[in-house]
């Protein structure tokens, strides 16, 4: 028995669907961000798996950039969450609508 690329891809699919489920269900914006991180990790897994499969280091380079974008997204998102929660400490995802002024 050998671990093929398909195993990694299916694991990535499972992680992605769990993340999307959490993103749809949870209302705490912090947990929603964590679910987005889960989905990004699932995609990273598939990138590396395909990169190994095709013998192309570009898959890993793509993961590198995804990591940077994920970090940026978390920083900006958490700054917005902090700004909202400072006004209303028990804010849920619905209260992000106060951004509209």
């Amino acid at each position: 028995m050998e671990v093929t690329t398909a195993w990694y891809l299916i694991l990535g699919g499972v992680l992605f669907s769990i993340g999307s489920f959490g993103l749809l269900v949870r209302r705490n914006p912090l947990v929603m961000f964590m679910c987005v991180e889960l989905m990004l990790n699932a995609v990273n897994l598939t990138f590396v798996a395909f990169g190994r499969d095709l013998g192309d280091i570009g898959g890993q380079a793509a993961v590198f950039f995804v990591l940077v974008v994920a970090a940026t997204e978390v920083v900006i998102g958490l700054a917005i969450v902090v700004a909202v929660m400072r006004r209303q400490p028990d804010a849920t995802a619905d209260d992000i609508s106060m951004l509209s002024g």
Binding site: G13, V48, Q60, V63, A71, P89
Partner: protein, 235 residues
């Protein structure tokens, strides 16, 4: 051996992912996320992506999760979401349907791409390159432009660095700009204005400005505690 490592990591990843979704307390969610990230990092190692495994630990578990924990500790550590109630009628079944159909789509695509067998057993020999040849091809492909091709196989970090600083150098520079913008934006969003700071620190419900009045009276002590915490942190 590889199968054992894969299955162990897959179990850790999926358990952690489910834990992120179902945990009441956001701190528990963050810790479960760490478990998933470690599992993914070990899977990167099994796929010969040593640099990404290290970066995964350092950036994700070391920086991003800590950032999450900072925000949780600042604001949300006392409240835990009540997961029994369903905020929108029919949200959960629809979400389950979306997640299951996403998973089904992924499995179908994988099954089609690997030639009909979902485990990829028979197809792995033909269209998929096995891992022994991957080393040599990726090492030589990274060198085809202007470097003399040696017989040695370059390690992962060197290959990745070569690609990032030649083929993807523009993306790399734009990444730097993106990070700078993110830092500036985060400071601009999260920093407290000078006038706002003075009015918020000695908070009294009568003197509170209009937006603060929207917050409920029960949450006012928590808010002022957080405000004073950030105030002392800035000082």
């Amino acid at each position: 051996m590889e199968v054992v490592v894969f299955i162990a990591c897959a179990v850790i990843c999926v358990t952690g992912a489910i834990g992120v979704v179902v945990a009441n307390n956001p701190v528990h969610s963050a810790l479960m996320l760490v478990a998933t990230l470690f599992g993914v990092a070990v899977l990167f190692l099994t796929m010969d992506a040593q640099f990404l495994a290290a970066v995964q630990i350092i950036v994700y578990a070391g920086a991003i999760v800590v950032l999450f924990l900072f925000v949780i500790m600042l604001f949300g550590v006392y409240r835990s979401e009540n997961l029994r109630v369903e905020p929108i009628a029919g949200q959960r079944p629809l979400s389950i349907a979306v997640a299951v159909s996403t998973l089904a789509l992924a499995v179908i695509i994988v099954a089609v791409a690997t030639g009909g067998s979902p485990t990829g057993q028979q197809a792995a020999t033909e269209p998929l390159v096995d891992s022994v040849t991957v080393h040599s091809t990726s090492a030589t492909e990274a060198l085809t432009d202007n470097q003399p091709i040696g017989e040695e196989i370059f390690p992962n970090v060197e290959q990745l660095g070569r690609v990032i600083f030649t083929d993807y150098v523009w993306a790399f520079e734009i990444t730097a700009v993106l990070l700078t913008i993110a830092v500036v934006g985060a400071i601009a969003l999260a920093r407290r204005q000078r006038g706002e700071e003075e009015s918020a620190a000695p908070v009294s419900p009568a003197a509170a400005p209009a937006p603060a009045a929207a917050a409920s009276a029960a949450s006012a002590p928590i808010g002022s505690a957080a405000a004073s915490a950030t105030h002392t942190e800035e000082a």
